[in-house]
Symmetry: C2
Subunit: 315 residues, 2 copies
């Protein structure tokens, strides 16, 4: 039996947090590997235009920013495998990472940069009509709704950004929000209020999505009086928050009640040698620049940890 190689570091996820951790790990001279289940990117691939990543005054698209970061990590020698991680277990002080493919990887340390995915609404019709008018990604699906009437659910910055993007395609957009006030950034709220295509339906929720083979409308409930009504639309975009990708560490590292990873300010989880950064972390800001900063810090802390464990300086 061939002894499994032990990496210094396995990074799980190749979004902004994971790729920045990779850039820093390469500069530290670590023997690292990035595992990503699909192509590099993560949630940011769904963003059409990022205006607040410092260094890009004219804005940059999510895919463009990721491709720059990926190139940078590759220039520095980053190694990368397309693998979905199934489980992590401990073997003495080392971490054994099992992929869905069945392959195993052994490493002194792990950085969880596995991000989060859109939360589902959990109403009748949602699952059946996903891909048939129900969507979680405006950038992916907006062009299918040219000159149509559609509905967006949510009230945060993502919902606002996606709605604004959808106005380039749809004729009319109903934005349904449970509260009487949006949580979105002020600048986005102003743009929404000034856009004639957008009508906000306050203090309401979608009870049901219906249609034969494709979305035809929703059942809306006005929350104060409990009044129900039907609203016709051909698309329903859902932006109600994120669910962390942490299945593979359940019963291993400490998670909060929503499944996000708890860390201290140095990105250390409850298990020595396992670090977390970016959207997968509890209370993270869900902003690319913050995820990158955390990725750099996580890689630095991995270096400190390895210096201690292996007696070699990684700085």
């Amino acid at each position: 039996m061939v002894e499994m190689k032990t990496y210094d570091l396995v990074i799980i996820g190749a979004g902004p947090a994971g790729l920045t951790a990779a850039i820093y790990a390469q500069r530290l001279g670590l023997d690292g590997l990035v595992l990503e289940k699909l192509a590099p990117g993560g949630q940011i691939l769904l963003t059409e235009r990022i205006e607040n990543y410092p260094g890009f005054p004219e804005g940059v698209s999510g895919p463009q920013l990721i491709s720059l970061m990926q190139k940078q990590a590759e220039n520095l020698g980053m190694k990368h495998e397309q693998e979905e991680v199934k489980r992590i277990r401990l073997s003495q002080h080392k971490k054994i990472i099992t992929a869905e493919s069945g392959k195993e990887y052994k490493s002194h340390t792990v950085i969880m940069a596995s991000g989060a995915k859109p939360k589902r609404l959990g109403v009748e019709g949602e699952r059946e009509l996903t891909g048939r008018g129900v969507s979680y990604c405006a950038t992916c699906d907006a062009p299918f709704f040219k000159d149509e009437e559609i509905l967006v659910i949510g009230g945060g910055s993502t919902a606002a950004e996606e709605t604004l993007y959808l106005t380039k395609f749809a004729r009319k957009i109903y934005l349904v929000h449970r509260r009487g006030m949006l949580r979105a950034q002020k600048i986005l709220q102003e743009r929404l209020f000034n856009n004639a295509k957008v009508e906000i339906i306050w203090k309401s929720k979608v009870e049901k999505i219906y249609g034969e083979g494709k979305v035809e409308g929703v059942l809306l409930k006005e929350l104060e009086k409990g009044k129900l009504r039907n609203l016709s639309c051909s698309g329903v975009f859902i932006f109600i928050g994120l669910k962390p990708n942490t299945n593979f560490v359940e019963n291993l590292v400490e998670l909060d009640k929503n499944g996000f990873v708890k860390t201290n300010r140095d990105m250390e989880t409850s298990i020595e040698g396992i670090f977390a950064c970016g959207d997968v972390r509890e209370n993270s800001l869900k902003q690319a620049i913050v995820a990158c900063g955390e990725g750099a810090l996580a890689a630095h802390m991995v270096g400190e940890y390895l210096s201690k464990v292996k007696g070699i300086e990684y700085k």
Copy 2:
């Protein structure tokens, strides 16, 4: 007497941390102002080439990155004054910022992004010969030392980067370090060891810098045996760490023993409504990407604080 205007936010310093805070503050719709004593930039202006700011696979110069960030903040409507801050005092819950010019500014909140400056060695000859061969900035002064023999003091990543940059100009570089091992990043150490122009003088320190009107040499002490010797050189570059720019908050916010600002993980200092981010913070990583992430978080926390104090949502 005209009542002084109250800003939502005054940001002190326009390096990566301050400019990112400004970008985020503008997007939150805050009425903010950036005070910077010189031109925007800070320490990063002294960096010839940054390879680890994610998004720039070919690297980017410090001045170039700052000018991109400044343009981005200006596109979003950032206001900016050239002022050196002398002191901050509290007036009820508001902050009064006094500039060296005598002008005063009133604000609900302050973000300290005032950075740090190079530490002096504190030896005979250093002050007198500064600008006459003694320098703290390779990017600024390297061209003056074409084909000369020079000396660099330090062992961290900055010292290593600056030494490598200086090899493009100088004929020979002595790198003097107190310890028998560098603290610089591995990748930089390798480049140093492979560069024939660089000779490392281990476990030694400079006791004195001498010369008539310009640097002619140094007195070196070998630390284990205490042996002294003279070494001829025409330049001395000093990279031994940073001193935080926190004079204006002494006796106001809590500082560590080296003068850096103590904060919690949300960038809050010991005084409500005063936040700090970037190099000025205790234990900061002194990396642009981390400073930017902290700037974004600080601005977000300012929004949360103002929502509470003013009863308006800034998100």
